[in-house]
Amino acid sequence: MIPKRRNHKYAFLTYQQRLVESKFSFLKCHIGRNVLKCVGWLQPPDCTHRYKVLIEYVLGYEPKTTVLFPNVKPSKHIHMYKDKSLCLSFPPDLKWTQNSRMAELTIPWLVEWIIFYEIYLINGNIWEGPESPVHLTEATRNINIDDE
């Protein structure tokens, strides 16, 4: 499908959209004003809740992933900002460029977030997923200190 507007942004977004739609069945995508929006409901196996998610992607920046349902209480412990959007990667680990494929990065990480969030709800509120260094506790930071 040849986009009507021949600017390069639209072509890139269409490319990203096609990747998402071909790899995942639960997201509906739409491009408007140079923003690719993907919405969908998902419930990975063994999860108690169904989640409604919105992913907004602007060329060259990491997508913004928001949990629309259920009503999750935002907190740094679950890596969720006040606006219900998620922090799925640590900037020094990954520089997001216009070649970064959201279908291969953001979406699997979103599913992982859901798994770890569901674990967090059952295990007494402990985040068992991988975290950036700022989240190291005192004990872990000092792990290599000699006890003697």
Partner: protein
């Protein structure tokens, strides 16, 4: 590949496996109760003596898979299921399809809640209930049709008299004042289907009445399921898993009609036979009921001899091929080891064939996963993520089978 090589006990076991799968594919009692409550509320609303439809003596009749008890629950929670209904209005043609359809819309719009839920489709009005429950009610506007022509073709009166004319907003004459409306007879078909299995359904109802110590009229229809209905539910789910939304997939009416025709013959010979034997016989014999008339494949509508459910097979030969491809696979599956041999852990191939949620629900020792079992399973998934070989598939399932997109390494963060 026939059941002669299995012992009676093995066939009993295989029948249990299929029954449990079919129960898991069916809606839950709660889902049925909710659907019925909603449909009854709509029926009452449409028939309100103070409403604009009262003078046309409206009545709402469920149709389709809900009416004949072959509903297939969506495998994935995010998919929707719908209940089809027909709203009969006693209006004489000629009339305009547009006008009659609007009459029903006007009634719905007189209530703010229904107005919000209302969406127009080509042949019906759709009421969307809350997003969370993924449930729709479709209301097809209909007027009674003359049915002499069906009687002349040999269709029994008890089926023919339910013939209707319906509206289709894609028809060129949708706004015209005419008698030339599309015809249909969903109630006639439903009654034919229910008659095919009447003896077994009555028998099952009597058994339930004794078991549950309830009078016959207190047994809800959704608790009565014959081997025919179970076979159709298994076939529809298998087809859905295999083909998804593919245009060429075998259509439900063809599967249902062929299975019902086969069942008529099968029960004559297998009175009181094993569930498994009956299902195998239905599947084996259903293809024998595809007729060939002058080299054209015919699957006639049992209540309208002029309608051929396989008419599209003429214009696209791939449809017939796809049907036989699906049929061969299903037959092989029900004869195969996943069904006939006992297993400790449910085979992965069974999950692929019928859907993993369905299989887990069917064979899980507890119906509701306890927090502890659930935590273990979630941690298994977490371990796969940590191992660096995790992939995420189309349906957001994380696996270590390399299915889908490979999960890249990352760390969750939070910018203070």
């Amino acid at each position: 590949m026939t059941t002669q090589f299995l012992t009676y006990a093995e066939r009993q076991r295989a029948g249990n496996v299929l029954e449990r799968l079919a129960q898991s594919i069916d809606l839950t009692d709660r889902q049925y109760q909710d659907a019925i409550a909603r449909y009854e509320a709509v029926a009452t609303f449409l028939g309100d003596p103070n409403g604009n439809l009262a003078i046309y003596n409206p009545h709402l009749v469920p149709q389709g898979s809900f009416r004949i008890g072959v509903v297939v629950r969506p495998e994935h929670e995010e998919c929707e299921f719908d209940v089809d209904t027909t709203c009969w209005l006693y209006i004489n043609l000629p009339a305009s399809q547009y006008r009659i359809k609007q009459l029903i819309a006007d009634r719905f719009k007189s209530n703010a809640t229904y107005e919000r839920m209302l969406k127009e489709k080509h042949r019906c009005w759709r009421l969307g209930y809350s997003e969370q429950t993924r449930f729709h009610l479709d209301v097809v506007p209909a007027v009674p049709d003359s049915y002499e022509w069906l009687l002349k073709l040999g269709v029994p009166d008890k089926y023919a008299k339910h013939a209707i004319k319906i509206t289709d907003n894609q028809r060129y004459n949708y706004h015209h004042h005419t008698v030339d409306w599309p015809g249909s007879n969903p109630e006639g078909y439903a009654l034919w289907f229910l008659d095919v299995m009447k003896v077994q359904a009555d028998h099952i109802r009597n058994q339930l009445s004794a078991e549950l110590k309830l009078s016959l009229d207190k047994i809800p229809e959704y608790k009565v399921r014959t081997p025919l209905q179970r076979a159709i539910q298994l076939m529809k789910r298998h087809r859905d898993q295999l083909y998804g939304d593919h245009d060429l997939k075998p259509i439900s009416i063809i599967i249902t009609t062929l299975a019902a025709r086969a069942y008529m013959d099968v029960i004559k010979r297998h009175q009181g036979g094993l569930f498994y034997d009956i299902v195998i016989a239905i599947v084996e014999q259903m293809v024998d009921h595809i007729e060939s008339r002058d080299n054209v494949r015919w699957i006639a509508n049992p209540v309208n001899p002029t309608e051929n459910f396989a008419d599209k097979w003429q214009t696209d030969p791939r449809l017939a091929a796809k049907f036989h491809e699906w049929h061969g696979k299903f037959l092989a599956l029900v004869n195969g080891e996943e069904i006939t041999k006992s297993f400790d852990r449910t085979p992965e191939s069974l999950k692929l064939s019928f859907g993993s949620n369905t299989v887990k629900r069917a064979f899980e020792p507890n119906n509701v996963p306890s927090s502890v079992g659930q935590l273990d399973r979630l941690r298994n998934t977490a371990a796969i993520i940590a191992s660096g070989v995790a992939h995420t598939d189309k349906n957001a399932q994380i696996n270590n089978q390399s299915i889908g997109v490979k999960n890249q390494e990352h760390r969750f963060h939070f910018n203070e």
